[in-house]
């Protein structure tokens, strides 16, 4: 099981929880599990999200491994200037 933190404005879709637990071992499995348990997140996930795994930010990298003790933070898509 992996603890995933969602950012403030998404917590409305996770019944107000900042952190939720899902059963997953890769980036994509985390997203699939989140959409299954919290359908309210589907819009944002389809628009595209990044994910910080142990401090490093990944953008849509489905097969990146996620360990049970990893710090997993859902984050908006990155843009630059």
């Amino acid at each position: 099981m992996v603890k995933v933190t969602v950012w403030g404005s998404l917590r409305a879709a996770t019944d107000g929880q900042a952190e939720v637990e899902v059963d997953a071992s890769t980036f994509k499995e985390v997203l699939d599990a989140l959409q299954l348990n919290y359908p309210g997140l589907t819009d944002q996930i389809e628009q595209g999200v990044s994910m910080a795994i142990d401090g490093k930010i990944y953008k849509d990298s489905w097969f990146t491994p996620v360990k049970p003790d990893s710090e997993v933070i859902l984050m908006p898509l990155m843009q630059g200037g």
Binding site: T5, W7, G8, S9, A12, A18, D43, A52, D54, G55, K56, I57, Y58, K59, D60, S61, T64, E71, I73, L74, M75, P76, L77, M78, Q79, G80, G81
Partner: protein
């Protein structure tokens, strides 16, 4: 993929200052920028732009224009085949309106003719029937319910009732218990800050040359930060396959985020296809100001609580941005970066975006961060002053470090903020004496960095020289950095590697040159491509010597036998292996395609001294020092250049640059005369200090440095101003009329 790419090593080429490969062309005037291309039979394209802040287009009569001698094509927004959807459709509408002209300068029709004069005359023959609509050009006007609506159906999800339908998006980041935090504070300061919309100010106006035939195939040359992005956007708008459109990036005359999208490129393709002739379009400076992509204006509330000894107990920010007539996402990086420099137990940053009748914003160097961090750094400075604490000590006490849970979520790995603050405190500038009417200001700054799609191909040519092919337009000298990294890895001289930026038909997709990502991502792919070539060269050597592949190592440009039973063989140089490559299996090319990950963040600390003339409000920048963490400075000249260039853009933003809209919603200063960017005589030398705290996610430890430099100056100059005239100003730019008024109001 190994999480820790970084291996400590002593470098031979990395860190030196060789001459850039494109230098001769640029100092002799031969370099070809967007407007420097010509083709036989080329037409000139021009755009008709709406003179109104907001107007419905009831009808457009192009008959007279179409019939004018020399006119070969006339198009309007409805000539697009209709393939574009979502954000891309918004961008297409921004390039050429369909039903409503949403801002002063919005393009409503376009003409291609055999000369610029005829095209201009044709524009004057187009008759547009406008129905004027109410407009808004500021956040304050767009925000409340009942405000004039810019576009229907754009209200964001779960937007509080108090806001009008112009509010298209909301976000929130942070953690901890704010109320508990504020309760522990000895002093709480709450302020509101405003910043004006500013423009990237690139000296080269947007320009392109499109050549499309009725068979649906096309070529395009244009100045851009990302020709793959231009191809993909234009292909969707034109309803054509991406592979049917080949885009070649010209040299680019500055971008800073403003050339990460399209403005005239789709229109040039539309005109070229209709005329079945090449069409060249070049924006005038007035068009660049009115209708390209300036950055968002902001209205930000910041509330911070601090104990007597300078510990921040709670921090809260409400960040409101306005970014033009279509939704944009800049509140996300804005809210995420607001408190990113701080180690906080209770923090919240909320963002709200509002539509206005202005051009669709584009990124401008660390988009969203200068505006939000300016507000935070100003309040931190005021707290330190009120509590009688040294501004650097307060920042050191609360600085984010390894293991800090950042305000935007992830826990920081190795970061350089504390070493930077300590270096700033020790710098002679920080303790130099000041005269009357002078003030010193300090600010820290932050920006993310990104990876993204990156493709590189590295060919070992027969004579032992190397052609490195990459797909990211080089704005600040990145071709030199790539040649350096390839040469370092291959063990050959820097001059032996030629780096070129290829067109979209030569490589897989490459993410735009933005997000301070190029030296990191393209560098990473270059090193991996070089290692792939080395692996193949070792294999060729092993087969030549008749030994096992694993028994060959690569050292200082040579394949060498190694290991117990490798036998005694003369090492083979890269050139020797290359010369025989046709006989040992064929040309040797290393390549690497990746979604680069693991970019490291880059912090900065700026110190600046200013002097204010109390009788006129004129501000002179006396001294400026930039300290920034580069992870590893590949080519120190160009790292310094990013720091100096970013700082001066920030100085312009703080003192004189702003978009000025009249009551009629029209832009009043669409030119370099009244949109005042800093000139050479405005500035002192910009001193730079590079720190190198390696980024674990890159083989050489590289962090992107391109954007952080613009973040600190807004607060650094504002804080200096408050000490020079002992009045806290909270609106940018601090132009002389505003400064003189602040001094006189103080009494």
């Amino acid at each position: 993929m190994a999480l820790d790419e970084y291996q400590k090593r002593d470098f031979k080429i990395i860190g030196t200052r060789p001459q850039r490969p494109d230098g001769i062309d640029k100092v002799t005037g031969r370099a070809q920028y967007g407007a420097d291309f010509y083709l036989p039979g080329m037409l000139t394209g021009k755009l008709l732009r709406s003179p109104h802040a907001h107007a419905r287009i009831k009808s457009i009569d192009i008959s007279a224009a179409a019939a004018l001698q020399g006119v070969k094509a006339v198009v309007t927004g409805n000539d697009f085949p209709g393939g574009a959807k979502g954000d891309t459709l918004d961008v297409q509408d921004h390039c050429l309106a369909r039903n409503v002209a949403l801002y002063d300068g919005h393009a409503v029709a376009a003409v291609a003719a055999t000369s610029a004069k005829i095209a201009q005359a044709a524009l004057e023959l187009i008759k547009v029937d406008y129905e004027i609509l109410p407009h808004v050009t500021s956040i304050e006007a767009a925000m409340p319910t009942g405000a004039p609506l810019v576009q229907e159906g754009r209200r964001g999800r779960k937007i509080p009732e108090e806001y009008s339908d112009n509010c298209t998006g909301m976000c929130e980041f942070g953690h901890g218990d704010l109320d508990a935090g504020f309760a522990k504070a000895d002093l709480i300061i709450e302020r509101t800050f405003k910043t004006s919309s500013t423009h990237q100010g690139y000296i080269e106006p947007n320009a392109c040359l499109a050549n499309m035939g009725p068979d649906g195939r096309a070529d395009m040359w244009c100045c851009t930060q990302g020709h793959f992005q231009v191809r993909n956007l234009c292909a969707q708008m034109m309803g054509m396959d991406q592979s049917a459109l080949r885009v070649t990036a010209s040299e680019i005359g500055g971008g800073f985020g403003g050339k990460t999208t399209v403005f005239i490129e789709p229109v040039a393709l539309l005109l070229s296809r209709k005329a079945n002739l090449p069409v060249k379009m070049v924006m005038s400076r007035e068009e660049v100001f009115k209708a390209s992509g300036p950055t968002v204006a902001s209205l930000t509330d910041v509330k911070i609580g601090m104990t007597k000894d300078g510990v921040i107990t709670a921090a809260d920010a409400l960040i409101r941005y306005e970014g033009g007539a279509w939704p944009n996402m800049t509140i996300f990086p804005g809210a995420q970066s607001a408190f990113a420099c701080y180690d906080l137990s209770a923090v919240r940053a909320q963002g709200l975006n509002f539509l206005t009748n202005r051009p669709l914003q584009a990124a401008y160097r660390a988009p969203g961060a200068p505006q939000s961090i300016y507000a935070v750094e100003a309040v931190v400075d005021e707290l330190a002053l009120e509590l009688g604490l040294d501004p650097i000590d307060v920042r050191l006490k609360n600085a984010a470090r390894k293991g800090t849970k950042s305000s935007y979520g992830p826990t920081y790995d190795e970061i350089g903020l504390i070493p930077l603050l300590e270096a700033a405190k020790a710098h002679p500038h920080y303790t130099a004496p000041l005269g009357p009417n002078q003030g010193r200001g300090l600010s820290s700054g932050f920006w993310f960095n990104f990876g993204g799609e990156t493709c590189v191909s590295l060919a070992i040519d027969f004579d032992g020289s190397v052609t490195l092919v990459e797909g990211n337009p080089d704005i600040g000298g990145s071709r030199a950095s790539m040649s350096m990294m390839a040469a370092e890895e291959l063990g050959i001289p820097y001059e032996k590697v030629r780096t070129i930026v290829a067109d979209t038909a030569s490589l897989g997709h490459n993410e735009v040159t933005h997000g301070s990502r190029v030296t990191f991502s393209v560098g990473l792919a270059t090193i991996k491509a070089a290692r792939a070539a080395i692996k193949e060269m070792c294999r060729r050597a092993a087969k030549t010597w008749g030994i096992d592949e694993e028994a060959v190592v690569w050292e200082d440009g040579y394949a060498k036998p190694a290991g117990a039973n490798a036998g005694d063989h003369e090492p083979l140089s890269l050139a020797q292996i290359a010369a025989k490559s046709s006989r040992t299996g064929g040309p040797i090319v290393g390549h690497h395609e990746v979604m680069a990950e693991g970019a490291g963040v880059s912090f900065g600390v700026h110190i600046c001294d200013i002097e204010v003339d109390p009788e006129t409000g004129f501000t002179k920048v006396l001294r400026y020092t930039v300290l920034q963490d580069a992870g590893k400075a590949i080519h120190p000249d160009y790292v310094e250049g990013q720091m100096q260039g970013g700082a001066v853009q920030g100085i312009g933003w703080a003192l004189n640059e702003e978009y000025i809209y009249g009551e009629d919603g029209r832009l009043q200063n669409a030119g370099f005369l009244d949109y005042r960017i800093p000139v050479a005589s405005d500035l002192p030398k910009i001193d730079t200090v590079i720190l190198e705290i390696p980024n674990p996610g890159h083989p050489y430890g590289v962090r992107g440095v391109g954007e952080t430099g613009i973040v600190p100056p807004l607060a650094a100059i504002s804080n200096a101003m408050s000490h020079a005239i002992n009045v806290r100003m909270s609106e940018l730019p601090m132009s002389p009329p505003r400064v003189l008024k602040a001094i006189k109001d103080k009494g």
